[in-house]
């Protein structure tokens, strides 16, 4: 009997009794969720524009962070380092389009998906080879302390991350809905050949998309790196972004953000309140189980369109 109590009643009682603690956990969850959303945004961008599920987005986050930190360690002032890294990421976008995407232009998505897996490992190896594999501190001038506001402990860095994420979402939403390039991106996503046939310059579009995804990766890399240091595990968060995309749907920018928050908070609460029951550290699989359960109910996620199979 007490097992049922411990699973269904106990945790809620704890939440009610310690609201401030709950708030802190929630804020921690939101912060982690935002991190996931930032990474997920990169996925959505590329999927929306090229129908490719870019598995290498995680490696791009790591690669961009490594480049930035590597430059700063070489004494390059932060602003210049930032500029240089952006340049590097755009160059990377050109290279990816030329070497990987152009030859595979109308292959099935499964082939492109596997190509990005290859890209993921290539970038990891390259990043570590160029900048070394040890963990690097990334300080942004934003002290990583927290302050008390209305009894709740808030961490400055997480707030900065939240602000960046919000700004990025706004920019991207506008970019996709109203700009000329945005509409072209959506057309390309539906059908490469159709887009080519009406004169959309597929190559330039893809370079633009991958560059923007690179920048989003850089932003995520910076935030994530500043919080828990730039190290190899960064590329694993790409896996964590998957459940976020499942919830939010692969093609909607707002969906990515909302999905990220749900997974972030869900994980934290699950870990804190239900974790101890089963020995803790349920963080790394909890997200997937949530996403899985969600998928069985609504295969195309919160905002995604229903995929009808034309016979």
């Amino acid at each position: 009997m007490d097992l049922l109590y411990a699973v269904f009643v106990g945790p809620f009682r704890d939440m009610v009794t310690a609201p401030t603690f709950l708030a802190e956990v929630l804020i921690g969850g939101v912060a982690a969720g935002l991190m996931y959303s930032l990474v997920a945004l990169g996925f959505v961008l590329i999927f929306k524009a090229s129908g490719v599920f870019n598995f290498a987005q995680g490696a791009m986050v790591l690669f961009s962070a490594l480049t930035l930190v590597g430059l700063m360690e070489r004494g390059v002032p932060m602003v210049l380092a930032l500029g240089l890294t952006i340049g590097v990421m755009v160059a990377l976008a050109f290279a990816i389009e030329r070497v990987v995407l152009r030859p595979l232009v109308n292959q099935e998505h499964i082939i492109l998906f596997m190509a990005t897996i290859g890209l993921n490992f290539f970038l990891e190896g390259l990043g570590e080879m160029v900048w070394g594999a040890n963990v690097k501190r990334l300080d942004l001038g934003i002290p990583d302390e927290s302050f008390m506001a209305a009894g709740i402990l808030i961490n400055k860095l997480e707030m900065a991350a939240a602000a960046t994420a919000a700004i990025l979402v706004g920019v991207l939403a506008v970019f996709f809905q109203s700009t000329k390039i945005g509409r072209a991106l959506r057309a390309v996503a539906d059908d490469h050949e159709a887009a080519l046939s009406i004169g959309i310059p597929l190559r330039t579009i893809w370079v633009v998309v991958w560059s923007v995804a690179g920048l989003v990766a850089l932003a995520a890399g910076i935030m994530w790196g500043a919080k828990s240091g730039v190290q190899f595990s960064l590329s694993l968060i790409a896996l964590k972004a998957l459940p976020v995309l499942i919830l939010g749907g692969f093609t909607s920018v707002p969906g990515a953000i909302v999905g990220g928050l749900i997974i972030g908070t869900g994980e934290k609460i699950g870990e804190v309140y239900w974790g101890p029951l089963v020995g803790g550290a349920i963080e790394n699989w909890f997200a997937y189980v949530v996403a899985l359960a969600f998928l069985l109910v609504r295969p195309q996620g919160l905002f995604g369109e229903k995929i009808i199979e034309r016979v």
Binding site: V100, G125, E128, A133, A291, L292
Partner: protein, 358 residues
């Protein structure tokens, strides 16, 4: 060029549908298999057996398994590591729980248990496809590893959290445990791979293989001629996990000797996925070629610098290796999406058509 096909005509459907219809192929494969059982145990050095041949066999078993699921049935899976772990831990519990059981039976039972787990994680495949399914298998991967880490029962509450292979014999030879010689472990591994390789080939060329490929190529057309999607997909998950389970138990019992969950993490799933892609989706032979390629490349990379006289740090070597793997995946997907198996097939066809162009 070496083929002498004139005069080889088929007088029965059995002959026409044989795995190796051309005599030259039958002879070569037969000889190769015979030698594979005889030469390495006698001649190969401990290093070659332990570092090259046994891991190749272990990964070949896993690759065949994943190829059945992803290559033939078209269901993407990133949970190979998890299913291998199930096999390994099941085998460990079986040997410690029932010492009398013969080790071969333990392997098979481990496979069966992995198959049951596979079915559970295959259930979502009915409603979701493609990338979405990858999520379900990822859930399996992380959940299983977490399970074996957290629940002491699986490791018989050993503080180190590792499982070790107890000594077991087959027909009087010590095949597992510290005293088992590399040669004995190799022969057992090869035996398992050959038997289950043949089984896989038989499944694939029969009605089961066809129903898998039908689901992979056009599931609505498959449904209209009587293929039941869920049952077919679950069968694919079950059999694939069976192979991964055996591979997992072979990894511990015949290769490493002992292991913890770290040996079955997500990187194993990617590694086996590489082998399937590079080897060739939808080809049993491709699975062997892929496994051999991925097992041999790092060895080549470690030795190549010495041959070329420039020595590089181990870390740099590891990074180059990862880069090369990533690069090769992209290369193969562009040049030949069907991997080494297709290149092998084209080479064979060129030989048969020689001197005419392919």
């Amino acid at each position: 060029m070496i083929y002498r096909e004139a005069g080889q005509f088929k007088t029965s459907y059995a002959a026409d549908q044989a795995v190796f219809p051309i005599v030259q192929d039958r002879v070569v494969v037969g000889a190769f298999l015979a030698l594979a059982f005889v030469l390495p145990p006698a001649l190969a050095s401990e290093y070659w057996l332990q570092a090259v041949l046994i891991p190749f066999l272990v990964y070949a078993m896993a690759t065949v398994g994943l190829n059945l699921l992803t290559g033939y049935a078209g269901q993407v899976s990133l949970g190979t590591g998890g299913f291998m772990a199930v096999g390994a831990y099941a085998a460990f519990k079986l040997t410690t729980g029932f010492p009398g059981l013969s080790i071969l039976l333990v392997f098979v039972l481990a496979g069966v248990i992995a198959a049951l787990v596979g079915i559970v994680f295959g259930l979502p495949s009915l409603r979701i496809k493609g990338f979405y399914l990858a999520v379900a298998t990822l859930a399996a991967q992380f959940f299983l590893i977490w399970l074996f880490n957290k629940v002491g029962w699986f490791v018989n509450y050993a503080s180190s959290g590792t499982i070790t292979a107890p000594p077991r014999t087959v027909m009087g030879f010590m095949v597992t445990g510290p005293e088992a010689t590399a040669a004995a472990r190799y022969v057992v591994a090869l035996g398992l791979v050959v038997v289950f390789g043949v089984v896989a080939k038989n499944l694939v060329r029969g009605r089961i293989g066809r129903s898998w490929m039908a689901i992979r190529d056009r599931d609505i057309a498959a449904e209209i001629i009587g293929v039941r999607p869920l049952r077919t997909k679950l069968l694919a998950f079950a059999i694939s996990s069976f192979y991964c389970g055996i591979a997992g138990s072979m990894l511990v019992f015949l290769f490493l000797g002992s292991a913890e969950t770290q040996a079955f993490d997500i990187n194993q799933s990617f590694l086996v996925l590489f082998m399937v892609i590079i080897g060739g989706l939808g080809s049993i032979l491709g699975s062997f070629l892929g496994a051999a390629f991925i097992v041999l490349t790092p060895i080549f990379l470690t030795n190549a610098p010495h041959w070329l006289g420039l020595d590089i740090s181990v870390a740099l070597q590891k990074q180059i290796e990862v880069m090369i793997f990533g690069g090769l995946i992209i290369f193969f997907l562009i040049v030949e999406p069907h991997g080494l198996a297709r290149l092998w097939q084209i080479a064979k066809e060129k030989l048969r058509l020689w001197p005419f162009p392919h």
